[in-house]
């Protein structure tokens, strides 16, 4: 029976997270990762990994189904989950930005139409500016929205900026920098203090190593 269950966000973060874990001594058996299994154990049998959609990582960890998880700050800002974030990792680095076809987004009507996968982040950002907005929730291909006239601008995650460029959008504003976090369930942090403490130490050492 594994000591700890670790949730990992599928997609862009997954490869980097698995590589970091391997450097920290938590090796996923070769073959297991390429399979379609969503729950696998590491070679030592001490850890179980579950691969879930990024937005579901806080859900699994907050319920204590997973003790900890790897997830981007963007997801945490959007979810308002009550989790510990004992480690900021230098992987999955990107920015949450406002992007638009124009230098200054707007259609002259005083209200800005914003297409985004991050309705909470967008609402907070424009709320702080006092800018009235209509938030249009979309679940993918956000860059299309201003091109086709669904929205005046988008709030989205940008890594290299290539997708924005290819769709004729530029960054108007950076809302926040994002990178991966190790998140930990509050109860697990106390009740499994030893294994979680050594996981954090191992990850710290592995992250430091890769900086040089």
């Amino acid at each position: 029976m594994p000591n700890l269950t670790i949730a990992i966000a599928k997609g862009r973060l997954q490869t980097e997270a698995v590589a970091l874990l391997a450097r920290a001594g938590l090796r996923i058996p070769s073959g297991a990762q390429s399979s379609r299994r969503l729950a696998i154990e590491d070679e030592s049998g001490c850890y179980r990994f579950i691969f879930v959609k990024p937005a579901d990582v806080p859900v699994y960890v907050e319920h204590g189904i997973a003790d900890c998880g790897f997830v981007g700050r963007d997801v945490l800002l959007e979810s308002d989950a009550d989790l510990l974030q004992p480690l900021t990792l230098n992987i999955g680095c990107c920015r949450i930005v406002v992007a638009s076809p124009l230098e200054m987004p707007g259609n002259g009507s005083g209200i800005l139409r914003v297409a985004t996968k991050y309705p909470n982040i967008a609402a907070r950002h424009f709320g702080a500016l006092g800018q009235p907005v209509e938030i249009i929730g979309v679940s993918g291909s956000v860059e299309l929205a201003p091109v086709l006239g669904l929205a005046d601008c988008i709030v989205d995650l940008v890594e290299t900026g290539r997708t924005l460029q290819e769709n004729g959008l530029h960054i108007v504003e950076v809302i926040a920098d994002s990178s991966a976090r190790l998140v930990v369930n509050r109860a697990s942090y106390q009740l499994k203090a030893k294994p979680i403490g050594s996981l954090i130490d191992a990850l710290k050492a592995a992250a430091k190593e890769s900086e040089f």
């Binding site: 907050e62 319920h63 204590g64 989950a81 974030q85 900021t88 106390q190 009740l191 203090a193």
Partner: protein, 378 residues
């Protein structure tokens, strides 16, 4: 469209059978422990003025209440917590009573919006106690000892951890850094999520590089007695050191009582600065993904109702608690009725109920069997 009769509102549920039985058993076990420590049971109104909860819990928490208006237009709310009502009663109705006041309660509380993914319930039952009018280490220990007895009695020994902290340690640090309210809240959030990296970068604007490194550790200082030596190395201001000494003294007593394996120090627990003023603690049980209880000292609370006096208490969540007890094994409480029911049946209703009443007088458990109806009711 016809109304869907089967649906009930989200976050609300039924309890029946073994689960309802277990909840009642836990409630009784806990209330009898409170009684054993001379705590008097109190019920606060289910419907009360919204302003009560604003004063008692702060605007942010109160906003999550079910609200409606009274006939005179005043805003009412469903009971959002029990402590607010007790604090008001202590400061007003019972202002002249001899101190200390010791109260305990078990009551459902309601929230319109759940607080997080894990806290999906909109109705939940709080069981708790308050010790009002005493500001001493003994009062703090009293409630901790009660909490610990409850968890043992529920068969949770070896499966629970109570974390303790003193908020004055954090308050001393923010005071020495001269943080304004906004910055203080930002720092609180970073410490609360144990984010040492971001805490260090946040502190750069307020402290020297050495101080940043030192205070950055604060977010992750948790463990047993060794925490105090580590903390003394990073904390220099007097207010924090006084609180640290107080917490260390509490820890020594916990240790002497042989309870230190059940307790843990967590200097990063700064979840409710606006509410608690000194000791804070949280109760975690293996098998429950979220905490099952929390408490602490709130010496400012009754001042909101016109009579400032020290108070300490804690609250347990009956729902999480009973789920945990139910999932665990080897507990003394079961979710089954203790006695088999004796099935009785007679054609003559007089004989039937004569026998039933006799059995009941001996406290036997009975179930009235199927009886052929000889007369038709109209």
């Amino acid at each position: 469209m016809t109304e869907q009769l089967s649906a009930i509102p989200s976050g609300i549920r039924y309890y029946f059978g073994g689960e309802a039985h277990l909840r009642r058993a836990i409630e009784q076990a806990v209330m009898s422990i409170f009684d054993g420590w001379s705590y008097e049971e109190i019920s606060t109104p289910t419907v009360d003025y919204y302003s009560l909860f604003e004063r008692g819990m702060g605007a942010l928490e109160a906003q999550r209440a079910f609200r409606f208006t009274d006939t005179d237009g005043r805003l009412l709310a469903l009971r959002r917590d029990v402590t607010s009502g007790i604090a008001r009663a202590a400061a007003t109705l019972m202002a002249k009573r001899e101190r200390p006041l010791r109260f305990c309660y078990a009551a459902p509380v309601f929230r319109l919006r759940p607080g997080s993914h894990a806290e999906w319930r909109r109705e939940s039952t709080q069981i708790g106690c308050e010790l009002i009018g005493r500001n001493s280490a003994a009062a703090d220990l009293e409630v901790l000892a009660i909490a610990s007895e409850i968890l043992s009695r529920l068969g949770l020994d070896g499966r629970y951890t109570i974390t303790v902290n003193d908020l004055e340690i954090f308050n001393g640090i923010t005071e020495s850094l001269a943080l304004d309210a906004g910055a203080r809240e930002q720092m609180r959030q970073l410490v609360d999520v144990h984010n040492a990296t971001d805490l260090r970068s946040f502190l750069v604007a307020y402290a020297s590089a050495n101080e940043c490194d030192a205070l950055g550790q604060l977010a992750q200082l948790s463990g047993k007695g060794e925490v105090f030596d580590k903390a003394r190395r990073v904390i220099a201001n007097k207010r924090s050191l006084v609180a640290l000494d107080r917490l260390a003294a509490l820890w020594r007593t916990i240790d002497s009582l042989g309870l230190s394996d059940r307790f843990e120090i967590d200097l990063g627990d700064v979840s409710r600065l606006d509410y608690y003023t000194g000791l804070v603690f949280k109760i975690y049980v293996a098998g429950a993904g979220s905490r099952i209880g929390s408490g602490g000292r709130y010496d400012q609370l009754t001042a909101n109702f016109g009579k400032a006096e020290p108070a300490v208490g804690f609250v347990l969540d009956l729902d999480t608690l009973s789920e945990t007890v139910r999932a665990g094994s080897g507990t003394i409480l079961t979710d089954e009725p203790v006695k088999e029911a004796l099935s009785i049946g007679h054609e003559d209703p007089t004989k039937l109920f004569l026998e039933a009443l006799q059995l009941r007088a001996r406290a036997e458990r009975v179930v009235i069997g199927q009886v052929e109806e000889t007369t038709c009711r109209t």
